[in-house]
Symmetry: C2
Subunit: 306 residues, 2 copies
């Protein structure tokens, strides 16, 4: 059985403070702390790219686990900010890490639902092809596409990359996944002419209506109650979104993690960052992960500590 063995992430050191933008956007401390829940956003160096952030995340994984790149049989990158459209960023990362020639690699284009989707995709691809060690990178740097005058986006998004090591000796196995798409609403979160547009209200409604219903259905078909889950790691869209989801699902708020005050919404990396920061769970403990956003697209999953 393939599952998550370990995770590492790279968040750039540079921060831009939302408190410095209070006058510009006519916002309060209360709005910053309790509505968006982002005090500073992480911003990459100008010469960093999707691939270089992946490499920096991998260096952290290597320091933490001693993982040997020569044993990696699959390497995928989830990004919507690729270095180029041609070639795929995974090939660039493959080259930079000196991965083996017989390592499979491909990119997945998804936004905030990307990690949960890719976990299922890579697990099942590795299982079907009898692979034992794989790397799942998530890497997005919205600082390249955010309009500094757009309150809806510039206060929210931070840059980061994460890398998740999947092996046949996992720390977490996945019990079940659910997926969905509302493609007709794809224009609510869109990047055109290198500038990001987000209809915050539409994304909020999507996150707070569709996702809780789907989580309830996923738990039900696995004969679980919300109380059977030990931690809820929702995509960190904003504090307001996470708080509303918590209320809609009537969750014990101590089980719901919110963590992005210091670095912002890091898109596909938000969930692996939370998961890496989780205190070690006891065997059998369950974590629900939920990614939703660009597409509009979502993926929910139940993980169990092995």
């Amino acid at each position: 059985m393939i599952g998550i063995r370990d995770i590492a992430y790279f968040i750039p050191e540079k921060r831009v403070s939302n408190y410095d933008k209070k006058e510009k956007f006519d916002i309060t401390d209360e709005f910053i702390k309790n509505k968006i829940g982002v005090e500073t956003v992480a911003v990459k160096e100008l010469n960093d790219s999707s691939s270089s952030l992946c490499v920096k995340a991998f260096e952290k994984l290597q320091a933490k686990t001693g993982v040997d790149i020569s044993e990696i049989e699959a390497l995928i990158v989830v990004t919507q900010n690729p270095d180029f459209t041609i070639p795929q960023t995974s090939a660039i990362v493959h080259g930079l890490l000196d991965a083996p020639t017989h390592c499979a690699s491909f990119d997945i284009s998804l936004g905030c639902s990307g990690f949960v989707y890719a976990l299922s995709i890579l697990q099942s691809f590795m299982t079907a092809n009898r692979m034992r060690k794989g790397l799942l990178f998530t890497s997005d740097q919205y600082s390249d596409i955010v309009d500094a005058d757009d309150k809806n986006t510039t206060l929210i998004f931070g840059d980061a990359a994460a890398v998740t090591l999947l092996t046949d000796e996992p720390a977490y196995r996945s019990l079940d996944f659910s997926f969905g798409t509302i493609g007709k609403s794809h224009r609510e979160l869109l990047c055109s002419d290198k500038t990001l547009f987000m209809n915050g209200r539409a994304i909020y409604n999507f996150a707070c209506k569709v996702i809780p219903d789907d989580i309830r259905a996923l738990l039900e078909r696995n004969k679980l109650n919300t109380g059977d889950i030990d931690a809820y790691l929702f995509h960190q869209g904003s504090k307001f979104i996470v708080d509303t989801m918590t209320k809609r699902l009537e969750l014990d708020s101590s089980k719901v993690v919110f963590d992005i005050y210091d670095y912002g919404n890091t898109i596909s990396s938000s969930i692996p960052i939370l998961l890496e920061k989780q205190p070690p769970a006891a065997s059998g403990q369950k974590i629900l992960i939920s990614g939703f956003g660009v597409g509009l697209s979502w993926a929910n999953a139940i993980l169990e500590r092995v």
Copy 2:
């Protein structure tokens, strides 16, 4: 078991003739017919995009099979020419086709190896998630990025999309796959500032040295000889590439398909187009499919007629 049930494709009607470019590029009829093997390239209408080509391919599939979109549980698009970088093209196609909300969707960014990779990815994803019907789109339109003065690319690439219906009642099942990447060479085929660059010599060497060796190894580990394969569907890079691969593998040339005189190298769609055009195989007959290109990346697979 999930596998290929049916395939349809859309090749735009408009053609540009390479015979009209003989003087400009100082090339002969012999070069056009026997070296590149492309007499005319297919070119999309200006307002067509990756997503609209997918929709046109789907209309053909629907006419051919009567497939009901409401039964589709997964929809993926392989493209390196997405409508936007954000959102994924699969979400746009999902909306245009009015696919169900509980249909999973994502994009895969790969070039000429994309179909073979995606076949394994979608089969294993559907199997793991207990899905019964899925659509695998391939859609690329290099006419948007080809430099009309670049002989290496403008004479070769054509626009197309294909859609492959995967179900649990397949016509072809896959026996085995192999994958590989030479990421250090990713600059040999690259699109920067919306213009494609290809080092034709490097791609030729890659295709004609690395791929035949990998095909031999794949056959060996499945205890098959080259003679046990009934048809070879190589990615249609050029006639010279396909002919050289045929020689290197010492194949009976009547088993090797070359088909792109009329429409060109359609990247990720080249193999599904060939597969759709194959005469109905007898049960147990085997087809080898081989995709290679951008990355540099490749995927080989052995299919068997059910």
